[in-house]
């Protein structure tokens, strides 16, 4: 019994610690691999050299502009994808005819990789932020949309019919019955979309040359600046972790009242 009681608090405090230890281990391995000659240090420089290059980068205004460009493309793309996904999801999800009408189209469009749309994006928007937004929106939209569809399908039909028999207006039914049920799904969708949006923003910049961190990575590659390239890749990794943390925290805060989150905390 005591051992169980002692393990629980340790468990709740350790993920961050374990995570940090894992990361430190990874950094150590990357330091050692080239130093031991297991990989060529021209292709994978040790952690210390990457860190030095990172320090150099943070001293240049170009780096901060690029970071800003990437974050703007991410946030804007995510916002558009989430609003479109939620609106389309509720509309299509709550009208059975629409749902059946679109099901095959959705299944057809969803697996198309966003990067396949690069030529189209370039034709429409050139190397502007518009190209990045197009790819980000396309990829992130489905994450939200499909989750919202599940959420709408999860609505208790008895509650819905009760609301209907109490002559709730369509808007009131959405607001008081459908929306609270769908909300956890919406947040799951947003959390998934947030990561996907970052990946696609960087990819678009890398491949198309739209302004942002991805383009800086491409320029570093073309310039034979290998440590700088890894330094920028590390930055995108850090961004990914931060965005995931932010999404999780936001979800927990905004859904604190919901049983899905309450249940998660007590378990």
């Amino acid at each position: 019994m005591t051992s169980v009681r002692r393990r629980n608090p340790a468990r709740s405090g350790s993920p961050a610690l374990l995570g940090a230890a894992g990361l430190a281990g990874l950094l150590l391995i990357i330091e050692l691999l080239p130093r031991l000659g297991l990989v060529d240090d021209r292709y994978l420089p040790p952690t210390s050299r990457i860190a030095a290059a990172l320090a150099d980068e943070t001293g240049s205004p170009q780096f901060w502009t690029s970071l800003g460009d990437t974050l703007i493309a991410w946030a804007l793309g995510l916002a558009i994808a989430v609003s479109a996904g939620v609106l389309a999801g509720i509309l299509i999800g709550s009208v059975p005819v629409l749902r059946e009408l679109t099901a095959s189209t959705v299944e057809f469009l969803r697996p198309i990789p966003s990067v396949a749309l690069i030529p189209l994006a370039v034709l429409l928007y050139g190397t502007d932020i518009g190209s990045t937004l197009m790819l980000v929106c396309y990829a992130a939209f489905w994450q939200v949309f499909v989750q919202v569809l599940y959420g709408v399908a999860d609505v208790d039909p008895v509650a819905y019919e009760t609301a209907r028999s109490f002559r709730f207006s369509a808007w009131a039914r959405i607001r008081h019955v459908l929306w609270p049920t769908a909300l956890p799904y919406v947040f799951t969708g947003i959390r998934l979309a947030a990561s996907v949006a970052l990946v696609l923003a960087i990819t678009a910049e890398l491949v198309i040359g739209a302004p942002g961190l991805g383009k800086e990575i491409a320029v570093a590659q073309a310039s034979e600046a290998v440590p700088t390239m890894y330094a920028l890749i590390v930055v995108t990794g850090i961004l990914g972790v931060l965005i995931n943390l932010l999404a999780r925290t936001g979800e927990r805060r905004l859904l604190a009242w919901h049983q899905s989150v309450r249940g998660e905390v007590t378990a």
């Binding site: 558009i80 370039v122 050139g126 383009k215």
Partner: protein
């Protein structure tokens, strides 16, 4: 809570509308107080150093041109970008321009871009092999795997010519496509037998012990004009004055860059991440202000021989 979400959606929708707004009015060249905003599609490599240098020197501003460089990864976006009007001018190699021309894409060169140094062993592009490779001359490339950055473009056509000049069968070389930065590793791992590279990869590979077997641009033609600045025929017809001012400014930039290699090397750090040590030892190309027409004709003949074009390019239409 609900109000907060409603607010989030409202912000998102407003954001998307704003995005539409900015994307529609950012393209095109508006006259603002007599100054033309000009976007040029370039590849962020050594070849386009003069335009960055010319911008710093004010050669464009002096002619009422406010210049923005749109540096795309690879040249694939540049021709469509110029045709659709997202860029007013673009930089591209002549083989790509001729491919576009044979497909009746309405473009025309307006100024020279970059040229070979014309010196064997001292050019900015070459085929390289590992130090211990059995390949000694271009003729040994027959039947071998050679990497180029783009298949059916200038890299393979000039390499085939080097092979022919060395007495080999130019048609019988296996080209594989990969980005320049990947070539050194592929060469050392033995995935490819030889690599067609340009600066800065050329210097990096040579510094690591790589050996040059052919100066392909030198073999292809005397003083080959490799690339040019171009515009859409629509812009040339609609705004000949802007094209004239741009051409003058770019010519001044080319001449200045050609005469000031040290400043070119310094400029590199402003738009690439080439470090100072590497930048100091790069082989710089030549930047003449004249397009060497016989060399472009030769490139057209080579492209036709190697089946890169579906017809013969009409140089009358392409050259200024």
């Amino acid at each position: 809570m609900r109000r907060l979400l409603a607010g989030m959606v409202a912000v998102a929708v407003a954001g998307s509308l704003a995005a539409c707004g900015t994307s529609s009015d950012s393209s095109g060249s508006g006259d603002s107080g007599g100054v033309d905003n000009v976007k040029v599609g370039v590849i962020p490599i050594v070849d386009v150093a003069p335009i960055y240098l010319g911008q710093q020197k004010g050669f464009f501003k002096n002619r009422n041109i406010e210049l923005t460089m749109e540096a795309g990864q690879g040249g694939a976006a540049i021709v469509p970008g110029v045709v659709s009007g997202q860029f007013q001018f673009g930089f591209s190699n002549f083989t790509s321009l001729m491919i576009a021309q044979t497909k009746n894409v309405p473009i025309k060169a307006v100024a020279a871009g970059v040229a070979s140094t014309g010196e064997q062993g001292k050019d900015f592009g070459a085929v390289v092999v590992k130090a211990d490779s059995p390949i000694k001359t271009a003729a040994d490339l027959v039947g071998k795997k050679v990497s180029v950055n783009t298949l059916k473009n200038i890299g393979d056509t000039v390499t085939r010519e080097s092979v022919r000049k060395a007495g080999g069968d130019g048609a019988n070389v296996n080209f594989v496509e990969m980005p320049f930065p990947n070539m050194q590793a592929a060469l050392e791992k033995g995935d490819i037998d030889a690599a067609w590279v340009v600066e800065p990869q050329l210097s990096t590979i040579k510094a690591a012990g790589g050996r040059e077997v052919a100066s392909t641009f030198v073999d292809a033609a005397d003083d080959l004009t490799v690339a040019a600045y171009f515009a859409s025929t629509k812009l040339i017809a609609d705004d000949p004055d802007l094209v004239k001012r741009f051409t003058e400014a770019i010519n001044e930039s080319l001449a200045y860059a050609d005469a000031h290699p040290d400043e070119v090397r310094t400029t590199l750090s402003s738009y690439t991440k080439i470090d100072a040590a590497l930048g100091a030892k790069l082989v710089l190309p030549k930047w003449p202000t004249q397009i060497n027409e016989p060399s472009v004709e030769k490139l057209a003949t080579l492209g036709a021989t190697d089946g890169i074009f579906s017809g013969n390019p009409d140089l009358e239409k392409l050259l200024p």
